[in-house]
Structure formats: C-alpha cells, structure tokens
Symmetry: C2
Subunit: 335 residues, 2 copies
DNA sequence: AATTAGCAAACAAGACTAAAGAGTGCTAAA
DNA sequence: TTTAGCACTCTTTAGTCTTGTTTGCTAATT
C-alpha cells in the first residue's frame, strides 16, 4: 500500500492538476505543498505512482497527469467532502427555498443550483416511472371530442395527457370510464399495466372501441414515455481549457445531445446516492474524456429524480461531492 | 443594376462557397459553371461585385467569399425555392403524418423533420400566448389541498398547472371559483388579465385569501411563462468546417444556451412566414457569424409556433427555404 | 536503506526561414 | 469589351534552431 508521503504526493499532484490543467512537475508541488523532502525524492515517488498506474506522463520529459485510476484512489480515499464555503451554503439555501408545485421543478431548480455553484454542466431526469404506484386517475372532458387524463402517483408525480376522440363522448361515458380505470389501476405500480389488464378494460367497456382505444393507448404512452432530460449550463464547459481541443468540444456536444446515453448514465449506478464515473470507467467510448457524478435526489426515501454533473476528468470532485452532500442534507431538513 | 453575367458569377460563387466553404477563385467557377468567357473576365466581374459590397476577400491574393450583402441579394433575387428531392419529399410526408394531440408536439416534430432533412440545428417555440383567447378554464380537485387548473385557448393550446393550498378546499369551493373564473375570463385574450381583473376576483371571492391567492398567482404565472424553446440537432453544426474554429463553436453553444436571444429571434420578423437573417443583419453581436431562417408555422391562419434554423452564414438557403415552403404547403393540406 | 545533489538527455514550444502554390490585378493586345 | 500573359501578393507547409522545462540516473550523503 501507499505510505503517507506517497499519498500526499498523489493528492498534491491531483489537486494541482485540477487547479491548473497542466502536467505537474516535482518542483511545483515542492513549492506549494510543504512536503519535507527534496524534489528528487518526489520524483522517485512519482515514478512509483506511475508504475502502479496512478499517474501518466504525456511524454518522457514532462510533468505527471493523474490517470483514471489515480482519480479513483483520490475520490475513494483522499477526498475531503466539506469543501464548501459559507457563501456557497447561503446561496444554495436561498435557492432551495423556492416553492414548487411539481417535483420535476424541484429537480430542475436543484440541478440549476448545482450547475451555478460548481460551474459544471448538469443533466437531470425525473424519477423513474415504472416503479411508481398509481394513486389516482382523473378524466376531464374538455370538449365533446377531447379529454384530459391526469394521473397522480404515490411520489407526487403528475402526468397529464390530452386524448382526442373520433366521435362525440358524453360526460356520463367519461365518468364511467374514469371509475373503471381507477377501480382497476389504483394502487398498481405503473409497470403492472400489461396486456391482460388492457384486455380486461377493452372487454368491460364494450360500448365503443373508438372511445376506449385512444384512452388506453395514450395513457400507456404517457406512462411509458421516457422522462425528459434537462440540461443546465452547457456553455459553462467551454470555459475550461480541455475544451480548447476541438475534438473534445465536439464530443461533449455530441454526448449531451445523445439523450439515451445520458438517461442511461443517470439511471445506472449502485445503491449509493452519489456515484462517480471517471472517464473510461463508464465503459462508454463517448465518455472516455469525461467524468460524471450522479446524485440520486431524494426526500426521505422518495426518489425525486437524478442529477448528473458532467465535466472533464479533471473535475473538482471534492467541490462537486461536497455540494451534493450539502444539498442532500438540506433537502432532508437537516440544519 | 447587375447584368446577367454578373448575376451568374455571383450565383456561381455563392453556390460554390456553400458547397466547399473555401474562397472561390475565378478558375474554379470557370470549370464547373459554364460561363462563356475567360477567367480574366470573371476576375473583372468579381472586382466589381466586390466594389459594390457583394463579395469579400480574406486577403489580397485569395479567392472571393460572399458578404452578408451578397447572400442577401442571392436570397432575394437569385434563389431557387424548389431545391428538394423526391426522397426528401417522401421523408417529410411520412414524418408529418404522425398523429399528435397537442400542437406543441406538432411544432417539435416539424422542427425535428427540418433538422433531419437540412442537417442544420433547429430551435422552436410554441405560439405566442399573449394574443390568444381563453376558451375555457377547468379546475379539478386532486386532493384536499391540491388542484389542477387547465386552460384552453382558441388556437388549441392547452396549459396546465398544479396549485397547492395551505388549507383544505372543498369540491364546492372549487366549482364556485371555476364558475367565477370562467365568467370573467372566457373570451378574453390572455394579455387582458391585468390588475383590475385580479382585484375584481379578489373582491368577489372573499371567503378565503389563502385559497384565491395561489390560484390567481399560479394561473398568471403559467400564462405569462415564456414558451419553452426546443433544440434539435445541436451537434449537427459541428460537422461543418466553420465550427473548426474554436471561437465560432464556443459562440454557437453560447447562443443556443441564451434562450432569451433565441426567443427574441423567433418572435421577431415581419409579416411573411419565412424570414431570413444573415449574419450581422440580425444586429446582434452574438449572431454575427450565423444565419437564422425563421418559419412561422401555421395551419390556416392559426399560429402554431415558430421554427428557426440556425447555421453558418454559408447556409444552404435554397434547400432550407425549399423545405420550409414544402412543409408549409403540406401542413395546409395542399398535395 | 532512504534521501539527496548534480547533471545529461528528452522533448515541447516558439521563432525564424525558405520554398511552393494559388490567385489576383494590371497591362497591352485583340 | 474581352482576353492573354505575367509580375506580385500572400498563405501554407516544412524544416531548422534555440530555449526552457523536467525527468531519470548516478554517485554521494545521511
């Protein structure tokens, strides 16, 4: 395992690289971090850290750059998660006070706050629908051939959809349908809406396929619909020096544009609330130059969606994770 | 005025430049376009076209590049608007067949189609709310302290908003409120919801400010809310050579991120359905390197929103305008 | 055994030069 | 008015040299 000085050297190199984006030399850390040894000693340590794969060298006579493995060790073992200033705390608190009526808005505000404080781009997605339980379905006639269906779930998610008919429908019909749907679907998780259930509904309400069909189809569609992905601060990334490489910049825009990829990243991850994917760790070619930190945004154990920060591998993990932890505490009512 | 050969030269230069993105030399157009003269003659014409400001020269001994003024003349006088292939027509027809329930979806699908066919980035926005007339307001109780308000307008726009209360409300209260709101607002254009009207509502329904206040506030908010802007194919731009300049690429991402700027461009424009802004013509510093073609998307004279194509000044105006005109015809039911 | 000083070697980055190639503008002739 | 011919301009690319940074190694020191 690493002795203390090697850990210090690794930490110094990573932090220095996060600040400067330039390969770090033995001399530069000797000056800024007080390690009680000479630059030659540091060079020896650097050589060893390189041997075990924690550091890379752009070319033979240049300083060192952390590898994904190096960042990983840093994130797992060395990182401080209280890297947050009083001003930042104040700013976050204020923004999170905003009253919202829909949980998606809360996710958006949180994502926006994180983006502002960390200066990275964020992507966010609403809570997964499949596992949510239908609490109530309401049908409202909006005209003789148009109806609004509103579906409420246990986590407070509200889905609305407009349904159009090819023939006139009456208030009475709507009410009957509404009763049937509630009867059958209330208390069910969304993923349970399957073929047999659909057929049952078709059978029960024989009076007009023209009426029933669009209702079932549209409700299924809106429930299965992928959650929208919201982007915040896409332009912020371009302030960073790594985006001076045209190829990196191009990849970045491409990645943000590939909603499925983003949804995939946001929905994967382990049981923890915060997951860190460093460059190639994500095992997606497109993401090899980027790191993503995802944050499962919860109140109690209600899933409110996931927020991801995407930036260069040289991301300020300490700041990002500190901010996320603070927000998590805050949302759960801790002082 | 320009004689015929000068027009041909201008057209050839612009089309060649649109295709190659390289300054155009007298020789290159002599070879590809059959002008019945020598390269020296073309050079003379080019010099004159430059004198009247239709062409620019990156440096003394390079070929010519069209200026904004040159593109303007081309768009206004020389452009062919039937530059669309059978495959493209087929593709567009198919995609526009998709059934939609909300007009915003139609705008999105159309914007997506345009982006796919032209390979440019599109931005789109829903119809302006201010001038729309309220057709119906429905309140639906979703729980003892939560209500959904649905507002329908004459153009078919539907706005929904969830309203939360600090105290329990009854079905009866909701109905009374609903009646009052309809009574007062039905038939009114949205921009007419002003202070006196609000006060009247406050006065009429004295029973609880806790109930009335959030309703009025939230309805006002949702109606005044800026329409969302949808982006399609942001990454496509990066295939173009002008985006190899880091500064241009950066500006582009910035422009797309500045929603107000985009909303401004989409909502400005004259009576025509198609408006073309070439580079500096838009009089916005940020847009000096880009051209925007906006398309007011209508069925009959119902405004369904505006779609904008944004790309380099060297945009294929002919293709873009041809596609827009075809879509416009198609949406209005012409074969 | 660990640390350090000292120094040669590697290499990037920038400045400068030279040569090649493309394209124009001008002059004089058709 | 058009054209041929040619000098001139300017970009682009490659090549060379210089400078400065940083390493890795060796040998001495603690």
């Amino acid at each position: 395992m690493l002795d203390d000085r090697k850990k210090q050297v690794l930490q110094a190199i990573i932090e220095e690289y996060i600040n400067t984006a330039e390969p770090v030399s033995s001399n530069s850390i000797l000056q800024k971090y007080d390690l009680d040894c000479s630059s030659a000693t540091i060079r020896n340590d650097m050589a060893e850290l390189e041997k075990i794969g924690f550091l890379d060298k752009p070319h033979t006579s240049s300083g060192r750059v952390p590898s994904a493995k190096g960042y990983r060790f840093y994130v797992d073992e060395l990182l401080k998660d209280d890297n947050i200033s009083l001003e930042e705390i104040k700013y976050i608190s204020d923004k999170l006070e905003t009253k919202v009526n829909e949980i998606e808005d809360l996710t958006k505000i949180t994502a926006n706050t994180i983006s502002e404080v960390t200066h990275y781009t964020t992507v966010s997605i609403g809570p997964k629908t499949e596992t949510q339980i239908i609490k109530e379905i309401k049908f409202v006639l909006l005209g003789s051939r148009m109806m609004l269906a509103v579906i409420l779930t246990d986590t407070g998610l509200v889905k609305e959809t407009i349904i159009k008919f090819d023939e006139d429908v009456t208030q009475k019909q709507i009410e009957t349908m509404n009763y049937m749907f509630n009867n059958k679907l209330k208390g069910q998780p969304i993923e349970k809406i399957d073929r047999p259930l659909e057929e049952y509904l078709y059978d029960e309400m024989t009076y007009s396929v023209n009426v029933i069909k669009p209702v079932i189809e549209q409700i299924k569609k809106v429930l299965e619909e992928d959650n929208k992905i919201y982007l915040e601060g896409a332009n912020r990334a371009f302030e960073l020096p790594e985006f001076n490489s045209l190829e990196v910049a191009k990849n970045f825009v491409n990645v943000l544009d590939t909603k499925e990829l983003m949804a995939d990243m946001l929905n994967s991850g382990f049981a923890q609330d915060i997951n860190v994917y460093i460059g190639e760790e994500s095992e997606k070619e497109e993401l090899k130059d980027f790191s993503i930190v995802t944050f499962k945004h919860k109140v109690g154990n209600k899933d409110l969606g996931t927020i991801g920060i995407i930036g260069p591998k040289r991301m300020d993990y300490s700041k990002v994770i500190s901010v996320m932890k603070y927000i998590s505490k805050k949302l759960n009512g801790e002082k």
